[in-house]
């Protein structure tokens, strides 16, 4: 049974290779893509049920001895993330197919390699292997990012791409330096052999801290968040949603895992996390207030929300970790839903600053409902999953006596709600003079004709013919929004699973044994 775990990496890679070699038509390669991703989700669900009792499934690749083989281990946390990342890849691919971004020759293989990298990074129990899988995840992303740019302004897009590559290469280089130092001082990079090593030796702690430092940059912690807010708004909606769900979240997962296993949840460094993550929350949300287009607002919110998610690890304890993991899963779903619902509007009606496309709610009630639900969930309004996530996290912070963090969380929630309302009223709500056929008209009259508007106007003028958003385009975001309602009303079930996952992080013996015994 455990031998099936490496298949989560191998199958997408092999399928990707076959898709490159065999000239299937676009329709058939779409079908292959969706089938493989659905199989990945299925495997994730199977692993969730297999590890729901707190056990961990491990496999040593090639059946080499413990400490030599490449270990793949799935516990509850990894299984939950595998499932949710699979669901997101599926939704984003469906959106890309519906919006026509998937017609490019190499879209399906690249997404599959990306999936293989994400699955590998979630499953591996070896720091160097983590580096390799992060690279496997990044290389197709560079391709997807460049490919997703179509139409005008190639140079603008190229700049975003250059920034993205440069930043990620820097992060990988720093991470690799951390791995080298860890090997130098500890003689191993296997997480099981490193378990608790940082508690015993300060030099190991410093070496692994360099890895954590690199992962935090990758997770877009303030002050290293600028790359995310500059590159994500430039890609196509499907790619932005895909990256938002996968890239930063893999880094967040690795931070959870490494701190729990190698540092054994040491209390004396947690204040650094509480401080940095609170700053991240506040700076991210304030950045969003100043932004003028939907996707850059959403990108800044992502930074802010990553602060919330990581606060869970900074409140290292049963309640804090449970809340953090729940928040992570909830956030991935909700954020992708927001990017996809606003993306659907963008694909049909063109992009631009807020106010250039108005009255979408009347023309697209389904999308409007999806956006509204996801936005309320992001802000933490009951009965959606965001409310449960925030409530448990605030509870955990109160429990740990971090009153300042609680205040930051509450204030940031209100500001989040405010800027969600800004998108709502700017894009979805009807406005004066915008009630023409379909209720949509590029609204040039509102902005002064300065250079920024001149630039954005070119994109607005290139609006596609006024067709309604098709069901295929709306469905992914609606499905994800429905999921957040389900998770909000039935939070008990997922919270129980998150508690199991948190238990595995608190007591790492099961995980370590699974790594060592294969």
């Amino acid at each position: 049974m455990s031998a099936a775990i490496p298949m989560l990496v191998a199958v997408p890679l092999v399928v990707a290779a076959l898709l490159v070699l065999l000239p299937l038509g676009p329709r058939r390669s779409d079908a292959v893509l969706l089938t493989t991703l659905a199989a990945s989700v299925g495997a994730g669900v199977w692993l969730v049920t297999a590890t729901a009792d707190g056990s961990a499934v491990g496999h040593a690749v090639g059946l080499w001895g413990p400490g030599i083989a490449i270990p793949f281990v799935a516990d509850q946390l990894a299984a939950l993330l595998l499932t949710v990342t699979g669901i997101l890849s599926l939704a984003c691919s469906a959106f890309a197919i519906a919006s026509g971004h998937a017609h490019l020759r190499f879209f399906a293989p690249l997404v599959l390699v990306l999936t293989a990298g994400v699955n590998g990074a979630l499953l591996t129990a070896d720091l160097f292997n983590l580096f390799v899988f992060i690279e496997v995840m990044l290389l197709p992303s560079y391709g997807l990012l460049v490919m997703s740019f179509s139409g005008r302004a190639p140079l603008r897009r190229l700049t975003g791409s250059r920034l993205y590559v440069t930043m990620n290469l820097l992060v990988s280089t720093v991470f690799l330096a951390g791995v080298a130092l860890t090997y130098g001082v500890a003689g191993t990079v296997n997480l099981a052999e490193l378990a608790g090593a940082a508690r015993e030796s300060t030099t190991v702690a410093v070496a692994v801290a360099l890895c954590l430092f690199a992962l935090s940059m990758k997770a877009a912690i303030v002050p290293a968040h600028g790359w995310l807010t500059r590159t994500y708004p430039d890609a196509s909606p499907a790619v932005t949603a895909l990256f938002s769900g996968l890239h930063t979240k893999v880094a967040v997962y690795a931070i959870y895992r490494v701190y729990a296993v190698v540092f054994d949840g040491m209390q004396e460094y947690l204040w650094v996390g509480v401080l940095m993550f609170s700053i991240t929350m506040a700076v991210g949300v304030m950045g969003a207030v100043g932004e003028g287009s939907t996707r850059s607002i959403l990108a800044f919110h992502m930074v802010s929300q990553i602060g919330y998610i990581l606060l869970g690890v900074a409140l290292f304890g049963p309640l804090g970790l449970t809340a953090g993991i729940f928040y992570l899963l909830h956030h991935m779903i909700v954020k992708a839903s927001l990017f996809l619902s606003t993306g659907a509007v963008e694909v049909r009606y063109g992009t631009g600053p807020l106010g250039s496309v108005t009255g979408v709610a009347r023309a697209e009630p389904l999308l409007a409902v999806a956006f509204f639900v996801a936005a309320m969930s992001l802000a933490g309004i009951p009965p959606f999953s965001g409310f449960v996530a925030k409530l448990t996290l605030i509870w955990a912070a109160l429990d740990a006596g971090e009153i300042a963090a609680v205040v930051v969380m509450l204030v940031v929630s209100i500001v989040t709600l405010m800027s969600m309302m800004k998108i709502w009223s700017g894009m979805f709500w009807a406005r004066k003079g915008a009630a023409r056929s379909g209720g949509l008209a590029p609204d040039h009259a509102t902005g002064e004709f300065d250079e920024t508007v001149a630039r954005d106007a070119t994109t607005i003028l290139a609006v596609q013919p006024r067709r309604r958003v098709g069901l295929g385009l709306a469905l992914p975001s609606v499905a994800l929004a429905a999921l957040t309602v389900v998770l909000g009303l039935g939070a008990e079930g997922l919270l129980a699973l998150c508690e199991v996952a948190a238990g595995n992080l608190l007591d790492t013996t099961t995980y370590v044994q699974a790594v060592m015994n294969g």
């Binding site: 975003g160 290469l169 330096a177 791995v179 080298a180 920024t452 630039r455």
Partner: protein, 139 residues
Amino acid sequence: MIVAIIVGLLAAGGVYLVLQREMLRIALGFALLSHAVNVLLVAAGGTGRRDQPLDGAVDPQTTADPLPQAFVLTAIVIAFAITVYMLALSVVGRRDDDTRDLSDAARSEVVASDDPLDVAEIARAYGAAAPEIHKEPTP
């Protein structure tokens, strides 16, 4: 000691180049930085023991540690792939130097054309007055 100095030199040179404006220099800077990390990885396995780890009778006191070398090999391949990609990115744009603020990108798109007549034409196409062009002094 010598290894430490080499790592330091490579890292210093890499950081200097990465902080330059041109994409080509940034790519070269990252090549140096990844070399620095590769040397660091080799050093992590110890540079004193140098016997081959393959022959039948292996003495752990004198044979080299093969694991970091495998790491370095993997890292070199990955760094190579990304360097090639970065070099491609550095020649794709019409003007090499665009590591500027994204908000300037629309303007730089216009500026990307070197022909002044062309610039005016594009500006007219935008329906705006010709934008002010700040050309960097070319050395």
